[in-house]
């Protein structure tokens, strides 16, 4: 498993304490799991994502991600409606490990309150949080 300083935590993204990342793209927010999360889980074998059109509040569980030996629950970093789901991770769950921030994205959300995005951590704050966890 990686050391904290080996983790890739892009500066243009925001992070939630449950290890999801959020990226604002044209008014919609793309969500996935961080390099730390995929590294801890190990080889991802299955991702369970909601249907397009489903709505969840901030902090609600919207799915789960499984490796051979563990299950991680996915929690909404912000509230809103699911407007897109990444089919690619259904066929190739390994994308979550290989490219957690690009090809391994999970859902796109139409935020109900864009302000919630600002409440998330910067990459520095998230890295600090991980260091405190150890």
């Amino acid at each position: 498993m990686k050391e904290i300083d080996e983790l890739d935590l892009p500066g243009n993204l925001r992070y939630a304490k449950d290890h999801e990342w959020a990226e604002l793209r044209d008014g919609k927010v793309r969500v996935g799991i961080s390099d730390y999360a995929q590294d801890q889980l190990g080889d991802v074998v299955f991702v369970d994502l909601p249907e397009v059109g489903a709505s969840f509040g901030k902090g609600e569980q919207f799915g789960f991600v499984e490796s051979a030996k563990a299950v991680g629950e996915l929690f909404m970093p912000l509230g809103g409606e699911i407007v897109a789901v990444n089919q690619a991770v259904d066929d190739s769950p390994e994308l979550v490990n290989q490219s957690p921030y690009t090809d391994g994205w999970m859902v796109e959300v139409q935020p109900s309150d864009p302000g919630e995005l600002d409440a998330l951590m910067t990459n520095e704050a998230y890295r600090q949080m991980l260091e405190d966890l150890e």
Partner: protein
Amino acid sequence: MRYLPHTGEDVASMLRALGARTLEALFENIPRECRRETALRLPEALTEWELDDHMARLAGSMAAGGGWEVFVGAGCYEHHIPALVPALVGRSEFVTSYTPYQPEVSQGTLQAIYEYQTLVTRLLGMDVANASMYDGASALAEALLMAVRITGKKKVVVSRLVHPLHRQVVRTYFSPTGGEVVELPLLEDGTTDPGPLEEMDTFAAVAVQSPNFMGCVEDLGGFAALAHEKEALCIGSFTEPLAYGLFKSPGSLGADIACGEGQSLGVPMSFGGPGLGMFACKAPHMRSLPGRLVGKTVDREGRQGFVLTLATREQHIRREKATSNICTNNSLCALAAAVYMAALGGTGFRELARLNRDKAEYLKARLEAAGCPTRFRAPTFNEFVARCPEGFEKKHRDLLGRKIVAGLRLEPYYPELSGHYLFCATETKSRESMDLLVSEMAS
């Protein structure tokens, strides 16, 4: 004591290594109030030879072997088990091995169970089978709970012709869930009445056993179509899987889940346990399956191998969100079933199934002629219900003295069927023994 290797010297040397003065010292931190005040009150230890005598006496008092002819099935069936089954299944590498969590040292169990899973899917007409459950009753309960999980609906429907003891287990499992278990009545011909189901709209699944408790073949295809119309699942259950060597499999008739008791396939009756819970489903429901699953994969050098997989459904990972709480299953019984199915082969399986049917048909006809008419019109496999004459209860008791158990009295299970008995004749019943039964009943 031959299972305890430690000598006085061993114990002394080990205590020295621990810096402990006595064995008692190792138990010092157990509070006195938790301790036993006296030694265990158990019989004095027996030698192997004394135990041989004791067990022989216990076994000798049972109505099994030694000339006994037991014409009872009702969820547990007497079949011939070839010597090669216990010889292979009894190998200590199978018997004394642990659950195959470390695949590199368990490929024997893993390949054998993968093969078992495959044979089960072929027998039941399904896509995926698990590595076994405790018995047919708990398998049915788990199938219904699985249907509730999949559909999100809380009510389940079960035919009254499903084995009464299986239905009792279902009720036990459902009692804390708040889910309703509705029963479908029987028709005159010995099959399940679909009528009430046509009126129902929200239910998770309907479970129909075929052949059912009365030995009759059900219209499982009709129930599957009806269930699917109502967006529910159809569960085809069984207590005698040998029937599918002759009759259509539950999967081919449209069942979504097939489950039941596999004891007939090479597992001795053993006073009702251990049995074999067989469980299989169609592909879309794979991730909702309870129980262990063996999958085929490769090792890091590309060699074919097997491993327990989709473990994230199970209790050791998912804990309270698992698809079931099952951990230990009936693996060795599943192995016995696989060896039995391998020994019979596809050709043998079909022949043996035909023979079972024909034996029961012969007995049926002879009983009819002797004044015990068959109660239900629907086709049967190796058991059927006959109406016996007034006062048969006494005759039944007398026949026990002749080492014959002439069927199972149905009244305790179905009060409306007083005077009716469930007779079973498998390939173990010779024409001679059936003729003797009939002549003894007639005299």
